[in-house]
Symmetry: C2
Subunit: 336 residues, 2 copies
DNA sequence: CGCCGCTTTGCAAGCGTGTGCAAATGCTGC
DNA sequence: GCAGCATTTGCACACGCTTGCAAAGCGGCG
């Protein structure tokens, strides 16, 4: 037990009666080996249970195949589905994902990136938090590719993927108008994340352009409970809203449950609701929430596409990608 | 761009005016270095932006610090919360998680474990699928620790963590009886996962002991839609159940939505429902589901505890840990 | 001042792999 | 049989780190 007995390329070489280089070349795609020795090596490797040591390989190749995913709120529906899409794409491109959970202390995004550097990750994908500029520099200097998803960071040399939150907000306003709503509201958490901020701002300005004011309410951390609390606040105002855009589907679910159960309202008759993310629960029978879909697969596709792209100065020098979040019509907004 | 310029221990050594060993020892807890040189090394390292290369360290130490998590259905509430607990505990024990998603093809659990061997992972934790015996052997021979969660595998030398599904099922039967239910049913998927199987078997035999028969319905893959379909089947039988134990909270949610919306029943007046897992949605206002809680934190705790334990033959030689799933009383079962 | 014991330091041999370079091999055409 | 060429092979160094071992430094005590 605990012997840690690995078979090395040398052993395979002796067993197959070739040099160690031959073994190495057999497992290096595109290297020069004759078919005959290749087969002999493969057979010997099979019998001995040999597997290339990727730590050693990463050491010499200066390319580990590791991509670091830096995530918080891992157990949240949207985050976990993005995570699934990313790992899936990464794996089918021959890479392997290293997962760093930054739920605990703050400043841990920086520590996560240091971890990535220590393991010589080829790239890091940040789904949460804002890394310090000095750490970003460290990563870039280490030749690490960096992708920030839904973050605002003006640094050059990295890929940023954002959604067109403003456009979505504008669409929401129009949908509410067509449904005949007069008093708009926005339900947000107090987290102040870039995407949340721009959804709110987009909604407010789009409404303002049409001469409408919106009641904005912010509270706590992004999630179900936040939605419930905001519903209570919003529905006890003298000016009750008849349309509310929730910054997140989770918030929307909480909002709807509270509004129905504690205020006896029915959706969309009394009040229209729109969410954002299109988590699985949004399609459940209790909600049937009209919402905007996070293009999770597209995000993953673009991300690992960029990782695989040759380092052309124009492309890999950094870019901002703005993806579209399409509206999913369900039953929480009255059709125009 | 893409220069991959790393600073090595040698450079730090020259800058600090010491030998390379001194640098290495500075970053090795418990090694013998004088405070004076330690500080000099740390300063030089800081200025140069040096970070120990964990690939190289893993090579010599024969201990990579990597733990491989093998998961399917990553985006599912229960799985993602278990994943969060595990990464959290792993990180605070100084390890790092490598995530392998086995959603795609079958046999991929085996490939995932091979991946773990290639990266010389210290351990692998399998949350899904059944690895082949030969691969398990490969892992054990490689000195890798292996943890199977909710899997049935009779192999020696690894840790298995299961829940006491039978006990939970028995508790459910009793709760239903106390609520005055007469016709029991079990809603399951067709996945045939060990935990699903033993929940069903436990429920059926516990009922049988009390002279009750249960209507068992299985369909499709474990999830919300499965619950809806089963509800339709169960509620159109001539013998309608008035109590149903769902193998999973997701199934229960689908079941409840369908039963309320398509059959106009109310819970728990017309029918009692119990789920399993205690996912976040179970506590949402639309469900308030009485269910059994997966002891996620305890699972994570036991797992990394075992990983850290010294390889005593009696303990680390393998063990079966049966954890308790406590009942969470909400509002889908009439109180006795 | 010399000896002893303890801590600190440097040397050098690994860990397992990739790869440039030169030697060896095989093959073709005369 | 031999020159000429393409392919295959082996040697040896490099990658960045840990660690056993012996030498060096340091302080105390007789």
């Amino acid at each position: 037990m605990g012997e840690r007995i690995f078979v090395s390329a040398q052993e395979v070489a002796t067993k197959a009666g070739v040099s160690r280089s031959a073994v190495s070349r057999t497992f290096t795609p595109g290297a020069s080996v004759s078919e005959q020795t290749r087969l002999r090596v493969l057979r010997a490797a099979e019998e001995l249970g040999y597997h290339v040591n990727h730590l050693a390989r990463g050491l010499t190749r200066r390319e580990s195949g590791i991509v670091c995913l830096i995530v918080s709120d891992l157990a949240t529906p949207y985050r976990s589905s993005l995570l699934r899409a990313l790992t899936d794409r990464l794996q089918s491109s021959g890479r392997v994902a290293m997962l760093v959970n930054t739920d605990r202390s703050d400043g841990s995004v920086d520590r996560a990136l240091q971890q990535a550097v220590r393991y010589r990750a080829d790239a890091s994908i940040v789904l949460s938090g804002m890394p310090d500029k000095s750490i970003i520099d460290l990563c870039l200097r280490s030749g690490q590719r960096l992708v920030l998803i839904n973050r605002d960071e003006e640094q050059e040399g990295l890929l940023r993927i954002n959604l067109d939150d403003e456009a979505a907000a504008q669409t929401a306003v129009q949908a509410f108008l067509r449904a005949g709503c007069r008093q708009l509201a926005f339900a947000n958490s107090a987290a102040g994340t870039p995407s949340l901020v721009s959804r709110e701002a987009g909604f407010v300005t789009a409404a303002a352009k049409l001469g409408l004011e919106v009641l904005v309410e912010r509270h706590g951390t992004t999630g179900y409970e936040c939605g419930r609390t905001i519903a209570r606040r919003l529905m006890t105002r003298q000016q009750r809203p008849d349309a509310v855009f929730c910054a997140t589907d989770l918030i929307a679910c909480g909002f709807m449950d509270c509004v129905r159960q504690e205020f006896g309202l029915s959706i969309p008759t009394d009040i229209c609701v729109v969410g954002f993310d299109d988590i699985e629960q949004a399609s459940w029978g209790s909600y049937e929430l009209t919402t905007f879909a996070q293009p999770v697969d597209e995000i993953a596709l673009e991300t690992v596409g960029w990782l695989s792209a040759p380092p052309k100065p124009d492309f890999s020098a950094g870019a901002l990608l703005k993806l579209h979040a399409g509206m999913i019509w369900r039953k929480t907004v009255r059709p125009g």
